[in-house]
Symmetry: C2
Subunit: 131 residues, 2 copies
DNA sequence: GTGGGTGCAAATACTTTGCAACCGA
DNA sequence: TCGGTTGCAAAGTATTTGCACCCAC
């Protein structure tokens, strides 16, 4: 169904996301997009983000606090700061790549796997030193 | 500070969690613990879970929907069902184990890494067949 | 007795949803 | 015109917090 119609808002959200290396929350996207669409609503941002995730055009990263969104859909890992919650791509070439997808261990068939690294980001570490 | 005093509620929460292989949400723990402590409040459950996480006695698993808690603190991975949200331990011995912790890639020092597998669990797959 | 812990309820944070108006095909 | 999309606001879900009372030490 859902014959998917063009929308400037959706386009703006996607291109905003594509132009970034970090992984903004819905609210950050909303705030920023308001520059071009002063009347856009947060609901619209959430609706379009969900839609894009469903379409496989972006990824949702669920962490502590608000969800974050990532326009890079090729497999990669994330570094997540325990202090400020920021998320950054990690392109570590693992010696032995993550086990292939589509295997089963009795729990169910694996469709995707993700590796996440936790720590305190440089920026937070710096500001901690000053205090 | 916080001279940590004994509490029957905290004890009950921890032992409940230790006796399980799955990874209940705060609300599931609350509902179940009410059998022994009819007056316990959800706030107390949340407070104690946070405390136990801080103490390193349990782990919090942030997923879509409600957070889940895990009394198994030795390193392991999780299978997360995209349909029902259940979380199960995966003890796959990866050929080449996850990169050692305590390395840095310019983002910050890694203190922990987690691997998560996503898919549809057997149980959900079964019920889907019937419909 | 003192300070940490508890129950309760209100508050917060994040996300979803109903609805009438709007706009792209 | 038709049906997907939007803005707005209200509702929903998950979690945190203020406060007076209670209990472990």
């Amino acid at each position: 169904m859902a014959a998917l119609k063009y929308s400037r808002q959706r386009e703006a959200i996607k291109s905003y996301l594509c132009g970034r290396e970090d992984h903004p929350t819905a609210d950050m996207i909303y705030t920023s997009i308001r520059g071009d669409f002063p009347n856009i609503s947060l609901g619209t941002v959430y609706r379009n983000l969900s839609l894009l995730v469903e379409l496989g055009e972006i990824r949702k990263i669920t962490t502590d606090g608000a969800d974050r969104f990532d326009a890079r859909i090729t497999p990669h890992s994330h570094f997540i700061c325990r202090n400020c919650g920021c998320v950054m791509d990690v392109m570590v070439p693992l010696n032995d790549p993550v086990p292939q997808v589509n295997q089963s261990w009795g729990h169910g068939e694996v469709e995707e796997c993700r590796m996440e690294f936790y720590g305190i980001c440089e920026q937070c570490k710096q500001s901690a030193k000053c205090s």
